[in-house]
Amino acid sequence: MTLLDVENLWVKFPSRQGVFEAVRGVSFTLGRERLAIVGESGSGKSMTGRAILQLIRPPGIVTADQVSLEGVNLMQKTEREMRDVRGKRVSMVMQDPKFSLNPVMTIGQQIIEAYRLHNKASKSIAYEKALSMLEAVSIRDPKRVMRAYPHEMSGGMGQRIMIAMMLIPSPKILIADEPTSALDVSVQRQVLSIIDTLVTDRGMGLIFISHDLNLVADFCDRVLIMYSGRIVEVCDAKNLHEAKHPYTRGLLNSLPRLNAPRKKLDVLSRDPAWSEAPSVSGRV
């Protein structure tokens, strides 16, 4: 079943040097699955995520033939209607929990606010909800954490709190924009497994934006590889190592591998033809 259907999505920024196109005609669909978007810095993967929620700041322009969420086209919604979509239907976890929690509000206040934005509930019900949500992201002693400020939390805890905050209005789709790149390796797996259980249990769709190919190959179902605003290849995550596009091959070969040691790693050579080639559709 298709949750999200994106067709021909463009993000443009007019500037003095002409129009800069960050995302150029991207199409894909998302079901109840874990979809990864992979690419180097500046390939437009985060912009794609933000464009779905229409959170591109002016002067940025978003155009698309359709961005439909369970059959409703988001492109035709007004800003006011979009507010009901954000958080409640589609949510997003951002890169660094240090910067994505308000430093002067307690964690409890922030989670309760996130819940009450979309649910008319009394403070005590919201408090109970927040407590159980914190338990769901395996935070020990949630009552103490509710009273704490973000600077008292470690990175891994912060990211789990962010996940709790973003999932408490029970959205249908979670966009995770490099949720683990600010965390160290041992914590990464823990956070990922929490995302995984919550997403599967609730039957949500996950868009996982990352630059870590190995992580994505393990964790996701399908992978879109983006290069300069376009999708250059779509493949199943388990077959990622058999990818055909020279860019994907280049990315794979530029990583060291324990079972195939090499004297020199490949340097990514970029072919201008890649950015000219039309975008591959990621629709099923």
Partner: protein, 266 residues
């Protein structure tokens, strides 16, 4: 040093509250036979003015007026500035342009001149003096609030709350205001001295508090006529203005050291 400032101000507040108990005489009672008594004369420690009113009592009652003016201005100006600045900074675009150009217009005039113009238009009196000073005091606050908002609005936690579906009103009042307030508080305490001087200046020019009210600026103005022969009539309220202004500045400096995150790391 900040503590000295704080103690002077605490003392001032206590004097203002306990004025009826502390004042040895009625500040309005005239005694023409006893006019222009020098310092330390009997029954009048700070002497008397040209109508024989006790200067100490007038000084004590005058602290109430000073605190009234300072308090009201310190409420009106920062709140107006905060509103204008955060809205301009958050909404951006045309709203920002219009609001900030209005702010620039107010900033372009010297404070006392603009206040004079407002009081002249509204009519003399303490309430109008408060209004006039507030009208001239808010633009710097708007600028500070806007600058803070510009840095805050592009931060990740504002994006986070936006993508949870919060509207502009909620973001400005619940997420941006609390972060702007500490820098505004510092500015307010540093501004207090200026406010006192402006109020005294208006009183001196006859546009603030009206006689016989014991406003310090107006008292200096009355003493001006005898400044060569009876200097204390002007000097006593002058010293009061000086001390209180200094106290506010000391406190402001101290608060800035405490509240400024850039300094706290040292």
């Amino acid at each position: 040093m900040a503590m000295i400032g704080l103690w002077i101000l605490v003392l001032l507040v206590m004097i203002a509250v306990g004025a009826p108990l502390l004042a040895p005489h009625n500040p309005f009672a005239q005694e023409l036979g006893n006019r222009l008594q020098p310092l330390w004369s009997e029954g009048h420690i700070l002497g008397t003015d040209s109508l024989g009113r006790d200067l100490l009592s007038r000084l004590i009652y005058g602290s109430r007026i000073t605190l009234y003016i300072v308090g009201l201005v310190a409420l009106i100006a920062p709140i107006t500035g905060l509103l204008v600045g955060t809205v301009a900074g958050y909404v951006g675009g045309w709203t920002d342009q219009v609001l900030m150009r209005i702010t620039d217009i107010f900033l372009a005039f010297p404070r006392l001149v603009l206040a004079l113009a407002f009081v002249a238009a509204l009519g003399a009196g303490i309430e109008n003096a408060v209004l006039a000073i507030s009208l001239t005091a808010w633009p710097p606050y708007a600028r500070i609030a806007r600058a803070e908002t510009l840095t805050i609005r592009s931060s990740d936690y504002i994006s986070a709350i936006q993508l949870q579906g919060a509207g502009a009103m909620r973001i400005i009042t619940k997420h941006i205001w609390p972060l702007c307030i500490s820098s505004l508080i510092v500015r307010v305490t540093l501004d207090m001295a200026g406010i006192i001087l402006a109020a005294a200046g208006l009183g001196f020019l006859g546009l603030g508090a009206q006689p016989p009210s014991p406003e310090w600026g107006a008292m200096i103005s009355e003493g001006r006529r005898f400044i060569l022969d009876h200097w204390w009539v002007a000097a006593v309220p002058g010293m009061a203005i000086f001390t209180v202004s200094l106290a506010f500045n000391l406190l402001g400096d101290g608060l800035r050291d405490v509240l400024d995150p850039k300094d706290s790391e040292k």
